[in-house]
Amino acid sequence: MNDALLRANSLVKHFGAIPASDGLSLEVRPGEIHALIGPNGAGKTTAIAQLSGEMRPDAGEVYFGGRDITRLGADARARAGLARSFQITSLFLGFTAEDNVAMAIQAHQGHSFRFWGNARRDATLRDPARDVLARVGLGARADVVSANLAHGEQRQLELAMALATEPKLLLLDEPMAGMGHDESLRMMELLAGLKGSLAILLVEHDMDVVFSLADRITVLVYGRAIASGAPAEIRANAEVRDAYLGADA
């Protein structure tokens, strides 16, 4: 009946009088990179927060793999395969890069009511953690305390942690925020390399990135999806051009 992996149905979220989500509907299909674009304050982060379960919508539903997850908390959604990264980097700053990823691996390995063995010497945590670090290009930085990593490296680590939970869908809120040109290119290659292995909902400002990576694009303005479709359709859409792309298209 519906082959969407993630489906948001008429989400409504108000902050006082501000409608941050105003009947927002959106679908992410398995394996696709779906970009969510829109001007600042359009409600992209708010949308991600409702999809990840950090925020409850005032109205509307969220379905994941056909199941209604509207009432599930963020932790339960993560366990179901819905991972997110944060627009503002959110790490365990006192821990090494490897510790950070090992924590994500641990989250993915069932309950942690294990009181005995030394987790930092547990090969079933450390080996996969090192693999994931290598995948995002941080292999040589495993033992660096994450507070001491460069900003771009922290963003890579943020992605590594999300990947380590082996999600079906990744919610990425501006993964390249604050990155330099080279770092952005790296991150773009990384995301391109993930294509097909999992679905990604990508919030991104840089239109070059969006149009080169995305299979489909949804345009958000004032908390509403004004258009959704393949990059070519979005480029050609007059309403989108007026509302958003106008300046740089």
Binding site: S52, E54, G73, A74, D75, A76, A78, R79, A83, R84, F86, S90, L91, F92, L93, G94, F95, D99, A102, M103, A104, Q106, A107, H108, S112, F113, R114, F115, W116, G117, N118, A119, R120, D122, L125, M161, T165
Partner: protein, 329 residues
């Protein structure tokens, strides 16, 4: 074998402290100062309470201001059962009293642990200042409950006529009792150390570092925090049971809010998040209290500023200062 030449500073501090703890009774007895054995026992017992608080405060970042409640309830468990055993009566008409340490100590842990489970279940739904206030409020409720509990002495507390019995040991002998306290403290420090570096311990540390991230990774953090809170409460209960045995007396003052504050100060002073550090904080605190109170009756006025100085100049606590850089986290 441990090669003494290869000890790092932290191991050296541990070894010296352990040797001092083991040698203390024969030394003070030889010096004819047996009073110091009971002072040192108090240090070990409060050390257990402070180390258990460190599990939630230092490792978990949960600022519980009601830890004395578990301490006091553990003490009362021993006191109440002792009284019934002594009178040959039954608790609530249900079961007889006991002065068997192998029964009442685990029972004190169970009762305090269940209490911590209940208090934690409510308190841990909040955070920040609310968590501090609600744990404080629960502890004060218990304080007033025991003040009004006339059956068991009310405000005046409850005197026991001896210590618990322990098969094969004479706990009424101060030296034997001291070594039992030492053994229990060491056992907890060892188990606690294993716990803090286990998977469970990683989750607790992760919650302290970044709870929001832990949730986003899929951890049901509430359950882990509650388990940690419960374990800490149970151990504080054991510590209260031991104090009840040491002084042969329990009273509501064991769980008044200043007692929670005292345990917290000792923990911070010793060095949070190290488990063993708080034991050093306790030793220093009780020693200062002893010295200052012999010197002036206004000792608390002197102790306050001293504590502030220690916290200011040894940011990682006395233990952090002793072990130097490498020992810190």
């Amino acid at each position: 074998m441990v090669d003494l030449r290869n000890l790092n500073r932290r191991q050296a501090v541990h070894l010296v402290a352990l040797a001092a703890a083991i040698l203390l009774p024969p030394v003070v007895l030889a010096a004819d100062e047996p009073f110091f054995i009971s002072l040192a026992s108090r240090m070990l017992i409060y050390g257990l309470a402070a180390a258990s608080l460190d599990l939630i405060l230092g490792f978990g970042g949960m600022v519980s201001f009601g830890h004395a409640a578990f301490f006091g309830v553990g003490g009362y468990t021993v006191g109440i059962l002792f009284t019934h055993g002594f009178q040959g009566s039954e608790f609530l008409g249900l079961f007889p009293g006991s002065d068997n340490a192998l029964i009442v100590w685990p029972l004190a842990m169970l009762v305090s642990g269940l209490l911590a489970l209940a208090i934690g279940a409510v308190s841990l739904r909040t955070g920040g200042v609310y968590f501090i206030m609600i744990t404080l409020a629960f502890a004060q409720m218990l304080y007033f409950f025991f003040v009004s509990l006339e059956t068991y002495g009310g405000d005046d507390g409850l005197s026991m006529y001896g210590r618990s019995r322990f098969p094969g040991l004479d706990l009424s002998d101060d030296t034997s009792f001291y070594y039992v306290c030492l053994a229990l403290l060491l056992l907890f420090l060892w188990l606690g150390h294993r716990l803090t570096r286990s998977r469970f311990g990683m989750v607790i540390a992760g919650v302290r570092e970044n709870e929001r991230r832990m949730i986003a990774l899929g951890f049901p953090v509430y359950r882990y925090k509650l388990a940690c809170f419960t374990i800490a409460g149970a151990v504080a209960g054991l510590s209260g049971a031991l104090i009840a045995n040491l002084t042969e007396f329990v009273s509501p003052s064991m769980m008044v809010w200043t007692k929670s504050g005292e345990i917290m100060v000792m923990t911070i002073m010793g060095g949070m998040g190290t488990l063993i550090g708080p034991v050093f904080g306790v030793a220093a605190f009780l020693l200062m209290e002893e010295v200052l109170s012999a010197w002036t009756e206004h000792w608390q006025i002197v102790l306050g500023p001293l504590l502030i100085l220690i916290v200011l100049f040894a940011k990682r606590g006395i233990y952090g200062w002793l072990v130097g850089r490498e020992g810190g986290r």
